[in-house]
Symmetry: D3
Subunit: 135 residues, 6 copies
C-alpha cells in the first residue's frame, strides 16, 4: 500500500505564482504590513479561494455603517463561539490594533459567554418566539 501523501504547507512569496503574489501585494498594501499572515499563505494553495476570500474580507471589513473596531469585535465573538483557535488569536490581535482596550475585551467576553448560555436556556426550555418580535 502506498504511503500517506505528505500534508501540503504554506506558500511563501518567493515560491508564489504571479496570481498569488498579486493578492499578497494587495494585502500588504491594504494592511501596511511587511508579510501576510499564515492564513493567506495556506489559502494560497488554492489561488481562486485566496482571491475570492481576500476580496470578500476586504469588502466586509471596510468601515461603513460600523467602524473597524466594532467589526473586529464581532469577528472575535463568532470565532470564540466556534472555538477556532487561529481566528481567536488573529482577530483578537486585530481588534487590539483597532483600539480594543482590556475593559472592552472583558465586556466582549462577558457578552459572548452570556449569549452562549442564554441561547441554550432558550433551546432547553423550548421558549416560543413572542408575537411582538414578529410584527
Amino acid at each position: 500500500m502506498s504511503a500517506t501523501p505528505s500534508t501540503p504547507g504554506p506558500i511563501e512569496y518567493r515560491d508564489a505564482s504571479a496570481a498569488v503574489r498579486a493578492v499578497f501585494d494587495d494585502i500588504k498594501r491594504s494592511r501596511k504590513v511587511d508579510d501576510v499572515n499564515n492564513f493567506w499563505k495556506y489559502l494560497a494553495r488554492d489561488p481562486a479561494t485566496l482571491k475570492r476570500t481576500w476580496e470578500s474580507v476586504r469588502e466586509v471589513m471596510t468601515p461603513g455603517a460600523l467602524d473597524a473596531l466594532t467589526k473586529e469585535m464581532i469577528y472575535v465573538a463568532v470565532s470564540v463561539t466556534n472555538g477556532c483557535g487561529y481566528c481567536i488569536a488573529s482577530h483578537s490581535a486585530a481588534a487590539r490594533k483597532a483600539g480594543m482596550t482590556e475593559a472592552m475585551f472583558g465586556e466582549l467576553m462577558a457578552i459572548v459567554g452570556m449569549a452562549n448560555e442564554t441561547n441554550r436556556l432558550a433551546n432547553g426550555y423550548r421558549v416560543p418566539i413572542d408575537a411582538a418580535f414578529d410584527k
Copy 2:
C-alpha cells in the same frame, strides 16, 4: 405504561411566587415594559436560575466600555452563529430598539457570515498560529 408527563409551560405574573414576581418587577422597571418576554416566563419555572440569569444579563448588558447597541449586536452575532431562533428574534429586536439601522444589520450579517466561513478555512487548512499573535 404510564403516559408521558405533560411539558411544563410559562409562568404568568398572576400565578408567580413572590420571589418570581420580584424578578419580573425588576425586569419591567429596568426595561420600561409592561410585561416580560417569554424567555423569563419559562425560566421562572426555576426561580434560582431566573434570578441568577437576570442579574447576570443586567450586569453584562449595562453600557460600560461598550455601548448598548454594540452589546446587542454582539449578542445577535453569537445567536446567529448558534442558530438559536428565539435569541435571534429577541436580540435583533433589541438591537433595532437600541438604534441598529438596516445598513448596520446588513454589515453585521456580512461579518458573521464571513467569520463563520474563514473559521472553517483556518480549521481545514490547519493553519498554525503566527508567532506575532502570541508575543
Copy 3:
C-alpha cells in the same frame, strides 16, 4: 426544467418491509409502546441505518455503570447544546418518564447553560491547560 422531486416522508408499519418491521417490533417490545416515534419512521427510509442506529442506541442507553435517568439527562444536555429541536423534545420526554423532576430539569438546564458560557470564556481568554490535568 424538471420539477423538484418531492421530499420523502415517514414509513408507517403497514407499508414497511419485513426488515423494517423487525426493527419496529423490537423497539415496541423494548420500550413497551404501541407505535414507534417519528424518528424511527423517517430512518426507515434507509433500513441499514435504521437497524444500526437502533442497535447502537439500545446498547448505549441500557443501564450499566450509569442509570437510565442519568443517561437521558446527558442526552438532553447534548441536544440542547446542539439546538436539535426534535431531540430536545423527545429526550426531555424520555428523561421525565425515567424520573426527572422539575428540580432536576432546572439544575440540568443551569449546568448546560453555564458550561456553554465557560467553554467560550476558556476559548476567548485562550487559557492553557493546567499541568495538573495532564499528569
Copy 4:
C-alpha cells in the same frame, strides 16, 4: 505601523487586587485547593466577570436535586460536544475526583457520541416532533 500589543496573560495571587484575591480565597476554601486553576487566573483580568462567573458556577454546581458527580458529567458532555479542550481536561479531572470510574466515563462518551449522531439524523431527515411530546 505600531506593533501588535502583547497578549495579556494570567494574574497570579501575588499580583492580584484585593477584589481578585477575595474571589481566589473563596475558590481555594470551597475547593480545598492550594491554588486556583488557570481558568480563574485568566478571568481575573476582568474582576467583575471573575466574581460573577465564580458565584454562578458555585451556585450551579452545588449538589441539590442532582449530585456532584452527575453535575460534572453533564459539564463534560457539553464541553466534549463543543470541543473545548481546556474544559474537557478540567471537568474530566473534576468528574474523576467526584467518583467517575472508567466504566462511567466510557458510558458517558458513548452517549455523547450517540446523541451527536442522532441529533444530525433528526436534522437531516427533517423529522417533525411527535404530537405526544408536546401534550
Copy 5:
C-alpha cells in the same frame, strides 16, 4: 417607550432596485428558474451582500474538480451538522435535482451522523494526532 420596529421581509422583483434585479436576473438565467428562492429575496435587503454572496456561490458551486452532485452533498453535510433548517431543505432539494438518489441520501446521512459521533469521541478521549498524519 417606542414600539419595536417591524422586522423587514423579503424584496420581490417588482420592488427591487436595478442593482438587485441584475443579480436576480443572473440567478434566474444561471439556474433556469422563473423566480429566485427566499434566501436571495431576504439578502436583497443588503445589495452588496446579495451580489457578493451570489458571485461567490456561483464560483464555488460550478463543477470543476468535483461534480455538481458531490458539491451539493457536501453542502448538505455542513447544513445538517449546523442544524440550519432552511439550508437543509434547499440544498437537499438541489442535491436531488442534481441526481441524488434515496440510496445516496441514506449513505450521506449515515456518514454525517457517524462523523459527528466520532468527532466527539476524539474530543472526549483527547486523542493526540498520529505522527503519520503530519509528515
Copy 6:
C-alpha cells in the same frame, strides 16, 4: 484531599485483551495497515464502544451508492465544520489516500466555508422555507 487521578492513555496491542485485539486485527486487515491509529487505541479503554464504533464505521464507509473518496470528503466536511483537529488530520489523510487531489481539496474547503457562511445568513435573515422545498 486526594490527588487528581491520572488521565488514562492509549491501549497498545501488547497490553490489549483478546476482545480488543480481535477488533485491532480486523482494522489492520480491512485497512491493510501494520498498526491502528491513536483513535482506536484510546477507544480501546471501552471495548464495547471500540467494537460498536469500528463496526459502524466499517459499515458506513464501505463503498456503496457513494464511492470511498466521496465518503471521505463528506467526513472531512463535517470534521472541519465542527473544528475537530484529530478528525480533520486523520480524514484528510484518508481522503488523500483515496485519491483526493489538491484541486479537489481546494474545492471541498471552498464549499465547506461557503456553506458555513450561508447557513448563518439564512439564520440571521430568518428566511422562511420556500413552499417548493416541501412539496
